[in-house]
């Protein structure tokens, strides 16, 4: 716990004239599971996407496992740093984004083989291990179009894990799923958390936040408004906007 895996310092992000992240700082120590919650438009996805530079921060610094990337760095040096950060982060998207022209197994070994130059057989062994762990080894030769949404997302998790990242980023991983398929994905995520993976999860799943997260960070209007344990958050929400979120969750429960 000595050094944070992810350290976001004084991050600002503008989309045109819109100020979507306002001087945000966040540290995530090793093996911690952090849930980022907040209403849509609060900036939680943007913050997550800044961590692996799918969004380019306007100001501030991102640090992932010792790789420090200030927003001011430009050009080749920046590309190299971003590449280093991406090798240390695994990303799971709301829309899965599996590669439709590749089988499940090809999807999962693509990163290790193409990006890391891993030996193909070694990559296959690792991929099969991870597919097994998400319960989809029997689908390895199928194309993504033949999978359900929940299965696609589980493959996407296996794909990210096979890159052996230091931290997993989840961007609303269950929001595109039919309600009956949400559980299987959350269970896989729980398993990944229990195996000691550092995770940042943008989610609307309060149940998951409550049960699995070590820490919940609430965002509103581009700022962190609350940063606490799930127990504390549900028992004693401080900000009125947090209260509103919790109340809505309670009534839907």
């Amino acid at each position: 716990m000595h050094h944070p895996i992810v350290k976001v310092s004084n991050l600002d992000k503008y989309f045109g004239r819109l100020h979507v992240l306002k001087n945000v700082s966040l540290e995530v120590p090793e093996k911690q599971v952090v849930c980022l919650i907040g209403r849509s438009g609060s900036g939680k996805s943007t913050l997550l996407r800044c961590v692996n530079f799918l969004e380019d921060p306007s100001h501030g610094t991102i640090e992932v496992d010792g790789v420090v990337v200030p927003a001011e760095v430009k050009g080749k040096e920046k590309n190299q740093l971003i590449h280093d950060v991406r090798l240390k982060t695994g990303m799971v998207f709301q829309e899965f984004n599996l590669f439709p022209h590749m089988t499940v197994l090809e999807n999962v070994i693509e990163g290790p083989v193409t990006v890391k130059g891993m030996d193909k057989n070694q990559a296959i062994a690792l991929a099969e291990q991870n597919l097994d762990s998400v319960g989809l080894l029997f689908k390895k030769d199928e194309y993504p179009s033949r999978l359900s949404g929940g299965q696609k997302q589980r493959v996407a998790i296996a794909r990210a894990l096979t890159m052996e990242p230091r931290v997993m980023l989840f961007d609303e991983p269950t929001s595109a799923l039919d309600p009956e398929l949400i559980g299987e994905v959350l269970n896989v995520m729980k398993k990944v958390a229990l195996e000691g993976m550092t995770m940042i999860v943008v989610t609307h799943e309060m149940g998951f936040a409550r049960e699995v997260a070590d820490r919940v960070v609430v965002m509103a209007e581009g700022e962190l408004i609350e940063d606490t344990s799930p127990e504390e958050l549900f028992a004693n929400p401080k900000d009125p906007r947090t209260k509103a979120l919790i109340d809505r969750y309670r009534t839907s429960e």
């Binding site: 991406r86 998207f93 590669f99």
Partner: protein, 282 residues
């Protein structure tokens, strides 16, 4: 068939009956279209059969063709098919390379590259193909560059189709969603790896059916190359023998039939290819 399987069983449901009626209607429509095609074809054959048709007091005399000429020159004209196909295959290969480069250039953030791509497409689409063929064949020799009819034809057809096909490729590239690129980036792929492994394979699959159409069009546009007088493809052969013995009618009809049959065959394979791609597994 369904009657047999349903015999002695519970009455067929309303939905099943409606579904079968729909199928029947569709089948009937297709049969009738085929029959009509046959009739039109027979009319066409009759028009050139040399027969006369008595309708009351009116006599219709069909056009009579010089069948002796046709039989005599059949192999000569048919011999042009190979050249026609060869020009088309060379030209389409050249066009695909140009189209891909032009489409990628259109994605470039480097202004001269972007401009070169749009400049090429604009210039070529703004001038006639016929002119382009002659430009290579007749205008370049003035500058000391002498190209054969075949090379001129292939260059012009390739350049021309490349410009049009670049739009197809561009559509193919933009059909690959942002999420695909993001997933590739998140894995740590370089832009080149992303293009080669993720974007291009999907874009090309998208572009294959329209490319098939372009190839089919090209087999016919290749006829323009005959105007150089030095490429012995279908059209050149037909006009040559037709003019020589004042049998252009027969010669051109034969060439038309060859082009038509060629198109029908290529369209058939095009359909097969599309059906395979449409399965969506791959």
């Amino acid at each position: 068939m369904s009657n047999e399987t349903n015999q002695g069983q519970a009455p067929t449901s309303q939905a099943e009956l409606l579904y079968q009626a729909g199928l029947r209607q569709e089948r009937q429509f297709r049969t009738n279209v085929s029959i009509s095609w046959g009739i039109f074809f027979l009319i066409l054959v009759f028009l050139f059969s040399g027969q006369s048709l008595q309708l009351g007091s009116f006599t219709f005399n069909a056009i009579s063709l010089d069948t002796e000429f046709m039989l005599k020159n059949f192999t000569f004209i048919a011999g042009g098919l190979g050249q026609t196909l060869m020009i088309s295959v060379f030209s389409i290969s050249f066009a695909i390379i140009l189209a891909l480069l032009a489409a990628l250039g259109r994605l470039s953030k480097f202004p001269p590259i972007y401009a070169l791509s749009t400049f090429y497409v604009s210039l070529i689409r703004g001038t006639p193909l016929y002119l382009q063929i002659f430009f290579f064949f007749l205008a370049l020799p003035q500058l000391g560059i002498i190209l054969s009819g075949l090379v001129s034809g292939v260059l012009a057809l390739g350049l021309n189709y490349g410009a049009y096909m670049s739009e197809t490729f561009r559509a193919g590239l933009s059909s690959v969603g942002k999420g695909q690129r993001e997933a590739a980036m998140a894995l740590g792929m370089t832009p080149t790896q992303m293009m080669r492994r993720i974007v291009l394979p999907q874009a090309l699959r998208f572009a294959i059916p329209p490319m098939g159409n372009d190839f089919i069009s090209m087999t016919k546009d290749s006829a323009l190359v005959s105007a150089t007088g030095f490429v012995h493809e279908l059209m050149w052969r037909a006009t040559k023998v037709g003019r020589a013995s004042f049998n252009s009618l027969e010669a051109l009809i034969m060439a038309a039939m060859f082009y038509w049959v060629l198109t029908l065959i290529l369209t058939y394979f095009q359909g097969k290819l599309e059906a395979r791609l449409a399965k969506g597994d791959r």
